[in-house]
Symmetry: C2
Subunit: 397 residues, 2 copies
């Protein structure tokens, strides 16, 4: 294709977004629309457009050709908008109730029109407020089992799977994870960001060769293991939730990666929230962590028994082996996520929003110790029930 995306691409504004919505007939003719840009402006513009009479709305999300982090900006492929739309359109076949509906997508302008989820709350925000979203783990366990199984060589003919692997090659966004999750926090690199009070703990990590060897192995899996189509960024900020609903959003990091990655990131973000709470309020998080795995493994196993296309599907021990690998990797990835959310570039409000400085530093030290323990012990941890003990045992040095 001779025309580059950039040459046609133009940044939408609130008024051009409304004009576009009208031109695309996303609302009935004559409807009076109101539009507000509600994105955080780091990677994307997010326009919330509503019919002011019915209050029915849509979301129009446009990728920006750069990432803005800590004041700096670096160029970032617009292809991620297509990746995101394609990932949502792939997921809808397997988990139609757990992702937003996609109404329209345009590759050149790098925007997607999708369901307005403003009736729901970002899970991280709700968890920080002390909400527990009772169905969160059941929904996420189901989401993970179905999206992962049916995109893997177990649920999809290898010829078809390789077409998807090719379609979802996502170098720019993977590079962000390779650097910010698996590399920078473990070296003295200037993207890191932490309170001076943590320097001693951080320098211990930088000097810890056995720990870094284990992180290197996990990074290698992330770089090379094309098991299934991942969400790629499944933290609690990528989930809208309520008492009854859960919707997974923002799969712009989607690519073919290791089975345990999404699971590990999700678990780690629940653990971070647990650590930020008083110990008597952590039980709902532990419940969610265990239930996510239980629902995931049961649903994955059912799908395997019903739909596996792999000739070795009935070989004794194979399904168990696949689940054990995913579990072990998930624990390791969770450890990396705990550490990078504490001292890396991209922090989380669960920890950074803690009012007391002393408690915040203490919680962050706790997160670092827990992260290290999970990375090191991932082969010996066999059930998520023990994570509660891990949290307690790493509370103090």
């Amino acid at each position: 294709m001779a025309i580059s995306h950039q040459s046609i691409y133009e940044r939408l504004t609130e008024s051009t977004a409304v004009a576009l919505a009208t031109r695309l007939r996303l609302f009935e003719e004559g409807t009076v629309l109101q539009c507000k840009e509600i994105g955080d402006g780091n990677l994307n513009l997010v326009f919330h457009i509503i019919d002011i009479n019915s209050e029915k709305g849509i979301i129009m999300k446009q990728a920006l050709p750069y990432a803005k982090v800590v004041g700096e900006s670096w160029p970032l492929s617009l292809k991620r908008a297509t990746i995101e739309a394609n990932a949502l359109l792939t997921a809808v076949d397997y988990v139609p109730t757990l992702v937003p509906k996609v109404y329209y997508t345009d590759e050149l302008l790098a925007f997607t029109v999708m369901e307005d989820l403003s009736r729901l709350q970002i899970a991280r925000t709700g968890l920080i407020e002390g909400k527990n979203f009772p169905l969160l783990s059941e929904h996420i366990g189901t989401y993970l089992a179905k999206t992962l199984f049916y995109s893997s060589d177990f649920g999809l003919e290898p010829l078809k799977k390789k077409v998807l692997v090719q379609k979802f090659i996502n170098p720019d966004l993977c590079k962000i994870t390779e650097d910010l999750v698996f590399t920078d926090p473990f070296f003295d690199i200037d993207t890191n960001s932490f309170e001076e009070e943590l320097r001693h703990d951080v320098e211990q990590i930088w000097a810890d060769q056995p720990l870094k060897l284990e992180v290197a192995k996990l990074k290698q899996k992330f770089l090379t293991k094309a098991d299934a189509l991942l969400h790629g960024d499944l933290h609690t900020g990528s989930i809208f939730a309520s008492e009854t609903e859960t919707k997974v959003i923002d799969p712009e990091f989607a690519f073919y990666g290791p089975l345990g990655f999404d699971l590990g990131q999700f678990i780690a973000n629940l653990l971070v929230n647990a650590i930020s709470r008083n110990s008597e309020n952590r039980e709902p998080l532990y419940h969610h962590i265990e239930k996510t795995w239980d629902v995931f493994s049961a649903t994955f196993s059912q799908a395997w028994k019903k739909d596996a296309v792999e000739q070795y599907r009935d070989t004794e021990g194979y399904l168990d082996y696949v689940l054990e690998q995913a579990f072990e990797d998930a624990i390791g990835f969770a450890g990396c996520e705990l550490i990078r959310r504490t001292i890396g570039l991209a922090h989380v409000a669960d920890l950074d929003g803690m009012d007391s400085f002393e408690e915040r530093i203490s919680a962050k030290q706790h997160a670092l110790r827990l992260g290290k323990a999970l990375i090191r012990d991932r082969k010996s941890i066999k059930v998520l029930g023990v994570l509660q003990n891990y949290v307690n045992n790493t509370a103090k040095e």
Copy 2:
């Protein structure tokens, strides 16, 4: 692209191949050319075109749009001709003396013009004749170390590597390996081919659940682990050799796969040849097997120390871990190759060409026992020096 390859593609003949060579000015004007088709006709046409005065020649290889095996034919993507040319052009940067020169390549007609290697002999043929090609292992160890290292995330920036992963997605040819190496021989599937005298041994394999679990794990690595750009079919029939030269040919199965795969296939084909010889003539093969690994690991380590782009390059134990994984996988892949070359669809002349029926059956039983032992013991085998014992210990039941 609206025009499909098939619509422009036409099958070359000896006379159209000569006309093409002339049109492409591959020889000086007025040269009298002679052309002979020398392919085995299964997957490709191979034209040997020479200047009858100087006897200087070229090879013009054209992919056929189908594979012809045991009388049947199935459609096969012509894209493999492009994959092969691109793989040769990638390898030439790192191992210029170990691959044929590429003079011209045409995607639509699916042909590549390359160096005439008729001065050399196919390594398998020479080994069967009892030749030992003294430099074979040094050259193949070097070939593997350099092509694998410099295409991996260790030797290539991840952003660039992913472009190559995408370029070398090779579903049709990978499917052949997935089926013929990792699946069919381990199940009662009608592509298998073996003497009735082996039925008992074969049925033992089909019923051996622990063995099949290990093969399933190895198959999963082949399906998912995009470590490095592999040759993909590195048996002794894909190597031209002499006393002084070695050239690796036919990389049409090239794709991003696990580090140990090419190594395992090469070792297995040396082992098959060893088994076909009297025990007193096996020493040169054992020497080649050990030397291949020694040269591979030394050259890979040197490249790592000199050129690694991975941030964890100096983390204690990481290079050793990477080599250990490649070694263990290579042993397992070698086991699968031994079994499939004995009872699967594609046999080898080393065994099938043995004159005495009794010795042939006995050698094939030996190959099956050795293959099973390598798959099972791959984690405990730490040096290739012990393979000699494995060969001896599996000689009789």
